[in-house]
């Protein structure tokens, strides 16, 4: 689902200045194809992760930066691994 800024703030349950800070930090990269920013379900799930990290897990801003970077790399690796796995299972030819 694609949502506007207001819907996103309510789904992610964060304040507007928090969102602006997260965008500045490049923790979130909203779609800016049109003049109004838009957000996806992926952005909401990522916002929940950031909120969990900062809130429940007590991670500071520098820590969030490092964790997101590593989590993104981990998903990249998982994807590459999955592709290789599929390729190896596919019959030759």
């Amino acid at each position: 689902m694609i949502m506007n800024k207001k819907q996103f703030l309510s789904s992610a349950d964060i304040e507007v200045h928090t969102l602006e800070f997260w965008i500045e930090q490049q923790w979130l990269i909203p779609d800016q194809t049109t003049a109004e920013m838009s957000f996806s379900d992926t952005d909401v799930a990522r916002a929940h992760l950031i909120r969990d990290l900062k809130g429940d897990l007590g991670v500071n801003d520098e820590g969030v930066d490092v964790i997101l970077h590593l989590v993104d790399q981990l998903h990249g690796l998982r994807r590459a691994f999955e592709q290789l796995h599929e390729d190896l299972r596919r019959p030759a030819g």
Binding site: T33, A45, E86
Partner: protein
């Protein structure tokens, strides 16, 4: 549901600080997004989070201890984790290949295999394309419409939002490389660099500027022109202004996230004529220099 004290591994007499500590320790280990390959992590984390919802809230804990509520009410609703999206075929701007790029660079066979696997996916989303764009300081404050010329000769229209910060990334959905099958195109990710303006410095939503003024303007006051990101404005320098006196131009800074604008702070700097001015020298020699010594205590 198990006894929440057991779930968190704390005694029923544990302090709220101990409960938080125990929860954090477990959450760091079990959070599903920190364990993307562990299917069981979500259930385990849910149980731990549910226990903490109950015991981490003093009021709920009291009622639980008194037997007024039971642990079954503490279960957290279904939650979608980032891992469910980060791994999807739909693609997203956060994907990173830096965890294995070195293998691909150093091993042709592996690179070829990865490339073929990627192509073999019937509905493959196109790659994200990365660009960079340099804008002027004033444009970063006021926003702007820019056109980016791409290496293939095409163009991309980019709307710079007002108040953009150096290094911010703008994502244009569907403006990346084309996909195959039902996979849509990737996104264009544009990292925006702000060309510094020697006159201005930015501090959050506020900007600052050092403004040279003449001796008569400092002593007698007067109207001066001051540059702002939206063009020059006229400002009144009060009588008796000094180097370091700071004036505020309200609302001339960057837009604030919640609405409104930051301010522009204008720091005055009294500047004497570069060439010696006999008239000024003559005048100052007549001025009672003993009356004011800025190096003495109490001087103002």
């Amino acid at each position: 549901m198990r006894n929440p004290y057991e779930v968190l591994g704390v005694a029923s007499t544990a302090s709220s600080a101990d409960i938080q500590k125990a929860y954090r320790k477990l959450a760091k280990k079990l959070h599903p997004d920190l364990n993307p390959g562990d299917k069981a992590a979500e259930e385990k984390f849910k149980e731990v989070a549910g226990a903490y919802d109950l015991l981490g809230d003093a009021e709920k804990r009291k009622r639980f201890d008194a037997g007024e509520i039971d642990a079954s009410g503490a279960e957290r609703p279904q939650h979608h984790y980032y891992r469910d999206f980060a791994h999807s075929d739909g693609g997203h701007p956060y994907a990173s290949s830096s965890g294995y790029a070195d293998f691909v660079d150093s091993d042709e066979a592996l690179a070829e295999l990865l490339r073929r696997s990627e192509q073999a996916r019937a509905n493959r989303r196109g790659r994200d394309l990365h660009y960079s764009l340099v804008i002027d300081f004033a444009e970063s404050i006021t926003g702007a419409n820019k056109r980016l010329t791409l290496p293939d000769g095409g163009t991309l229209d980019v709307t710079i939002p007002p108040g953009l910060v150096e290094g911010q990334v703008i994502r244009l959905r569907g403006k990346g490389a084309p996909g195959s099958g039902k996979g849509g195109p990737g996104d264009a990710l544009i990292e925006v660099e702000v060309r510094p303006d020697p006159r201005f410095a930015r501090d959050g939503d506020d900007i600052s500027l050092e403004l040279p003024i003449s001796l008569p303007e400092a002593v007698l006051g007067g109207k001066v022109r001051v540059p702002t990101p939206t063009g020059d404005v006229t400002m009144t320098v009060p009588k008796g202004s000094n180097t370091g006196t700071t004036m505020r131009l309200r609302g001339k800074g960057a837009p604030r996230p919640g609405g409104g604008h930051g301010d522009e702070f204008v720091k005055l700097k009294v500047v004497l004529p570069k060439a010696p001015d006999p008239e000024l020298e003559e005048f100052v020699s007549r001025w009672d220099r003993k009356a004011f010594n800025p190096r003495e205590d109490g001087a103002s």
